[in-house]
């Protein structure tokens, strides 16, 4: 599948934004968020800012962006529509959470409840995004049990690093947030590895013989192409990436996306320049996750490409 920048930005930025929202909300609900009046309002501004940037980027992918509002209508059947609705609904508890924290105070039951609601709404939106991909039956690398949990894990991972960085700059006690961020970093690395092992061992969903109705005859191979130049189907769904490049990029993702942030979190935990270490961890993780998301698309194959003799 063609990796379009707009969609890569959408999924990574909303992951950072809603992940941060989830950490803020859960910590506030549990009463372990440092009592700084500005912490939640600023955190929510950053979180919603990142998520909004991702959502705006996604509209650049549309052929008719001015009609984007129509996408809220089909939530009964479409995960893309559900994502849009969930993203809009998330603004309400998130803004209310910031207002209550500032106005009523961190210990109020309403603040803590709203924090939990905001966290659930944010993670719910990430789940809807993941299900857009996980529900597509012709793409085996997406239509599997890894996609939805992975998106949630990566959102909590990227948001967790951002959360740790935010706390480091408040000068508050860090060890709980950084330890949890470290744990989710390790989980994320293992989840990605497990996904790559899974797609490498997957067998194609079908055969060209079944796609052409010629299964009774035996194996089928392509003879002549319908056209000499690339068409929409081949550009969008026949994207091919060399295995050796994929392998190199996978190592890069593991290194700068997971290993380097994990080391920096250890430094922060040891009290070595935690503010700087956590910010650097966020930057490296962002680069790593962008490459990871690029691979998520580039390595995905579509059944329709088989009609042209390409892997499906």
């Amino acid at each position: 599948m063609k990796p379009a920048n707009s969609v890569l930005l959408l999924t990574t930025l909303t992951g950072f934004g809603y992940g941060l929202l989830a950490w803020l909300g859960i910590f506030a609900a549990l009463g372990v968020l440092p009592h700084r009046a500005w912490l939640v309002p600023v955190g929510i501004a950053v979180s919603l800012g990142l998520a909004s940037a991702g959502l705006i980027a996604s509209t650049l992918h549309l052929g008719r962006p001015e009609r984007a509002w129509r996408a809220f209508s089909q939530w009964r059947s479409s995960w893309l529509s559900r994502e849009g609705v969930a993203a809009m609904l998330t603004y309400l508890p998130a803004l209310a959470f910031a207002a209550l924290w500032w106005g009523v105070g961190p210990n109020a039951a309403s603040t803590r409840l709203m924090g939990l609601l905001a966290a659930l709404a944010g993670l719910g939106t990430v789940y809807c995004t993941a299900m857009i991909y996980a529900s597509l039956k012709p793409i085996r690398q997406w239509h599997n049990q890894h996609t939805a949990p992975d998106y949630m894990i990566f959102a909590l991972f990227s948001g967790g690093l951002l959360f740790a960085a935010a706390l480091a700059w408040t000068g508050a006690a860090l060890s709980l947030a950084v330890s949890l961020a470290l744990v989710i970093t390790i989980i994320a690395a293992f989840a990605k590895n497990a996904y790559w092992r899974f797609i490498d061992q997957q067998t194609p969903l079908t055969t060209l013989a079944s796609a052409t109705g010629l299964a009774a005859f035996g194996p089928v191979t392509t003879l002549d192409q319908p056209h000499f130049t690339e068409n929409y189907i081949l550009r969008e769904m026949g994207y091919q990436i060399a295995r050796k490049h994929a392998a190199k990029l996978r190592r890069l993702v593991l290194l700068i996306g997971f290993a380097a942030p994990a080391l920096l979190l250890l430094l922060a935990l040891a009290g070595f320049a935690p503010g700087f270490a956590t910010i650097l961890a966020v930057i490296l993780a962002a680069m790593g996750l962008f490459a990871e998301r690029w691979l998520f698309f580039a390595e995905a194959t579509h059944v329709a490409a088989m009609y042209y003799g390409r892997p499906g």
Binding site: R70, K137, P219, P226, H302, A305
Partner: protein, 247 residues
């Protein structure tokens, strides 16, 4: 709504039956389809550099050719026209966030309302048959309409009320009709020839059927034993003459 209509027993399911035995791979269906539809329901269809080095555009039919390895009879060339199958479980419809994609309850035709399509392309990702093509000029998705503007068109003579691809096929490899009615001509054809659905394992329940090529009926002549006419130049000449005349 992009939710699917409730399937009713005995409901009309308009679709195509494509005969892979008689298709000669001439692309006439693709050309007539483009000709009709660039002025029809989804008009216009992009057609960039049609005579240039990199022609590109939207086509609702793509004509492939494959080689099937049948045991005992070598490779068999099969021409294969590919178009929308108007599935009964079309995921291209249910993934649509706007309601632009829909399946008609009355005849099963899958259509796009290009006035409300936002061009997110998700429907094309959801189709395993590669039937939907994006119109970069209009920013919306396009697809086969089963020539809805021909089959119900009362200004056309009744005999012409069939899809453009069917009307133009010189080898009568394409048939149009109601596959929901077991007594229709197309249903009987499918039953008689063992028509198949493409990739049934994916669960889209396509309406269109493909008729597999008939098994080869021509028996190969038995190979003759080489004639031996002795040795020497005369014999070699005779042997050569024998080979030439045997061709």
């Amino acid at each position: 709504m992009t939710s699917l209509p409730q399937p009713l027993p005995g409901a009309t399911k308009l679709g195509l039956v494509i005969d892979l035995d008689t298709c000669v791979g001439c692309h006439a269906c693709a050309v007539n389809c483009k000709e009709w539809n660039t002025g029809g329901h989804h008009a216009p269809l992009p057609d960039h550099q049609p005579y240039g080095a990199e022609p590109d555009g939207v086509w609702f039919n793509r004509i492939h050719s494959y080689e099937a390895q049948a045991p005992g009879c070598g490779g068999r060339t099969v021409n294969f026209p590919r178009s929308c199958l108007h599935c009964e479980q079309p995921q291209c419809v249910t993934v649509c966030p706007t309601g632009a994609s829909y399946k008609r309850a009355e005849d099963g035709i899958v259509l796009i309302n290009t006035d409300i399509c936002i061009g997110c392309k998700l429907c094309s990702w959801a189709c395993p048959y590669g039937a939907r093509e994006f119109d970069e000029d209009a920013g919306v998705m396009k697809k086969c309409t089963l020539c809805i503007d021909r089959i119900y068109n009362t200004s056309l003579p009744e005999a012409e009320r069939e899809p453009a691809c069917v009307a133009t096929c010189p080898s009568r490899a394409r048939h149009f009709g109601d596959l929901g009615d077991p007594d229709s001509a197309v249903s009987k054809l499918v039953a008689a020839r063992g028509g198949v659905a493409l990739m049934p394992e994916l669960g889209y329940q396509p309406t269109n059927r493909y008729l597999p090529p008939r098994k080869a009926q021509i028996a190969l002549p038995p190979a003759e034993a080489p004639t031996q006419a002795g040795t020497g130049v005369g014999a070699a000449l005779l042997s050569l003459l024998d080979r030439v005349l045997s061709r």
